[in-house]
């Protein structure tokens, strides 16, 4: 082959790769099989229950679930779907909706914006869902939620924590405490207990979630008068952080603040300890996965994170959820499962309170929910359809999250 032609070919392939590989999620095949897991009996014919029917609820009420079930983000999507399916099973077992059954139809977003939009369109136009639970990522929510808003279908995210999610419209809800609620509380509590005055910060700068987490951290640190000696970044999928951590270690901070997802956070912890950086490591929502302690092992000891949920919360709603989850899936739920489980219960309660399968009525009933007992605590929506409940600060001890005190 002639050199020039070859060089051209290489260039094409390289740019193709660069474009395709950056977010690994896009590698998932476009024609992911649709995952359909009816909670009760069949699915398809149910479709649209005439909304105007005055007799209220009967037959099947179809609620969509649009989550990342394949690709790297499936690490969050899988527990989320488990939580939703567990809730749906309990809701139908308890006949919460009377004669009607709740049917969940899942579409895969693969953690990708375009696929999330697609999933929303399929759910709304084809499956005729009355409401949607999802999507998994804040990124995807910014892309896909307007589709639901446009169609006037309520959408309830259980893992979208970036700022501005519910500003997209009055049909957009979330039950995940935004980072802007959790993080300032984390900084307040840890600064009080640990008494640090200069910290270093690391965050993933190519992801809306970790970036928005960083923004809140930076603001909270500034307002608490903490000096930031270094701010270092990395990209999603990075595995080697030794260059950044060496630089940070030389500046001798008293704590390391990390806004990252669990996989990257785990490797940051391992490498920080290897490089002799033994200060407390503090993070946000991304830390809240059992995977963190599992991957980082002893390096995760003492890691601190703000959270919306605590597995050890002794409230009966929570212990019942944790037990049911363990019995169903043979492992501990994480915060994402707890929030998704709560979201499914909130949606079902709204459908019940609305007494109809009309999306507008469901929206109003959802917005009206106050003091709902849930695994997350006593739960309400505020006027902007954001969650109201108390965040906690957790610390890893003996490989388990415990309340930091």
């Amino acid at each position: 082959m002639k050199p020039r032609r070859f060089a051209l070919l290489l260039l094409v392939v390289l740019s193709l790769l660069a474009a395709a590989c950056a977010p690994p999620a896009t590698q998932a095949p476009a024609d992911q099989p649709t995952v359909q897991e009816p909670a009760a009996e069949p699915t398809a014919e149910s479709a649209a229950e005439p909304a105007a029917q005055s007799s209220g609820l009967s037959g099947e009420v179809v609620v969509g679930c649009a989550h990342a079930l394949s690709g790297p983000i499936a690490i969050y999507g899988e527990p989320i779907r488990n939580g939703i399916m567990l809730a749906a099973k309990q809701i139908n077992d308890q006949k919460l909706l009377g004669d009607a059954t709740l049917s969940i139809v899942c579409e895969d977003t693969a953690g990708d914006k375009a696929q999330a939009i697609n999933a929303f369109q399929v759910l709304i136009n084809q499956d005729k869902v009355v409401a949607i639970l999802g999507p998994t990522l804040s990124n995807s929510a910014f892309a896909a939620d307007p589709v639901a808003q446009e169609a006037k279908i309520p959408v309830l995210g259980s893992s979208n924590t970036a700022a501005g999610i519910t500003d997209m419209g009055d049909y957009v809800f979330r039950d995940s405490l935004p980072e802007s609620d959790v993080i300032p509380n984390t900084i307040l509590v840890t600064k009080d207990k640990l008494g640090y005055s200069k910290v270093a910060v690391m965050y993933g700068n190519d992801d809306q979630f970790t970036k928005s987490g960083y923004d809140v951290f930076a603001e909270a640190l500034a307002s608490s008068g903490t000096e930031v000696v270094a701010t270092e970044t990395f990209a999603k999928g990075d595995t080697d952080f030794s260059a950044q951590l060496t630089k940070i270690a030389a500046l001798e901070p008293e704590a390391l603040i990390v806004s990252a997802l669990a996989e990257e956070a785990a490797n940051i912890m391992i490498q920080a300890r290897q490089l002799g950086l033994d200060v407390p490591i503090i993070g946000g929502n991304g830390f809240n996965s059992p995977k963190l302690a599992e991957i980082a092992g002893p390096a995760a000891e003492g890691a601190i994170s703000g959270a919306a949920w605590n597995i050890g919360n002794p409230a009966p709603e929570n212990t019942a959820f944790v037990e049911a989850y363990r019995a169903e899936y043979g492992g501990d739920p994480d915060q994402f499962a707890a929030q998704a489980y709560t979201a499914a219960w909130l949606m079902a309660t709204a459908i019940k309170n609305a007494g109809s399968a009309d999306p507008a009525a469901i929206r109003d009933a959802l917005a009206a929910i106050k003091d709902f007992p849930s695994p997350l605590g006593t739960y309400s929506f505020d006027e902007n359809r954001n969650p109201v409940h108390t965040p906690v600060v957790l610390i890893v001890k003996d490989g388990q999250f415990q309340v930091f005190e």
Binding site: P72, E78, A243, K247, E263, N267
Partner: protein
Amino acid sequence: MFLQQLVNALWLGSVYALFALGYTLVFGVLDILNLAHGAVFMWGAFFGLMAVTRLDMPIWAALLVAMLGSGVLGIVLDRVAFRPLRKRNAPQLAAIISSIGASTILVSLAQGAFGAQVSRFPLDALPSQVFITGPVRVTLIQIIVFVASVVLMIALLLFMRRSRSGKAMRAVAYSGRISALLGINVDRIIVTTFFVSSALAGASGVFLGLAFSAISPFMGAPIELKGLAVIILGGLGNVPGAILAGFLLAATEVFGVAYVSSDFRDAIAFTVLILVLLFRPSGILGTAVERRA
């Protein structure tokens, strides 16, 4: 700090070099850019992981299992994705696309089998020892990966220069048709090449799995891009070039972070790549163009 960063660079360089060895070999012999190399690398890590966790093997035995497993996987890959195209004299682009398809299938299979979760080797698979000399800290696994990449490189070079199969490989790299006329079983050499290249990918999968504790079906994608940069920088198909380029790319990245900013880590590295290619289009150690390996 400088010494530690130098160690970081050497360490990361050996990671890149180790990955690029097999990558560049297939290119050198067959003129095929095998974009499924990252997927084979990932499967190597999983073979090793399964051998340790399910079969309770010691880590060195798991390494052999992983090399053998990925070697065989490489042969299958050739049979399914490349050989049919070769038989039909399909253009090179077809082989590249075919390898992208194979990569997607291998990643999906891994996700089906192991889930999307990130896993790691058991904590006791290798002592997590840290050696401290003055201002520099090195872990046992870092030393092992560094030594392994050097040893594998020398072994590969000796194999190519001294052994009959290696010499035949170089002949095939020069011209498949003439080699066939001279009585070399070209098909067997291609199979050998894929086996060796994929076994190297499997070995690096295990080593990097040990080093970074981030084994997942998607672990191949980020390093594949870096690996591609490394083999281009080193001169396509040039084994010592790939090693050198691996260290060069790593040094640019690490010192870019250390003295410029981590925001520009990849930007600096790839700018260097473009600059080198502008002045030396065939890579650092690339000879003319036609002859490789």
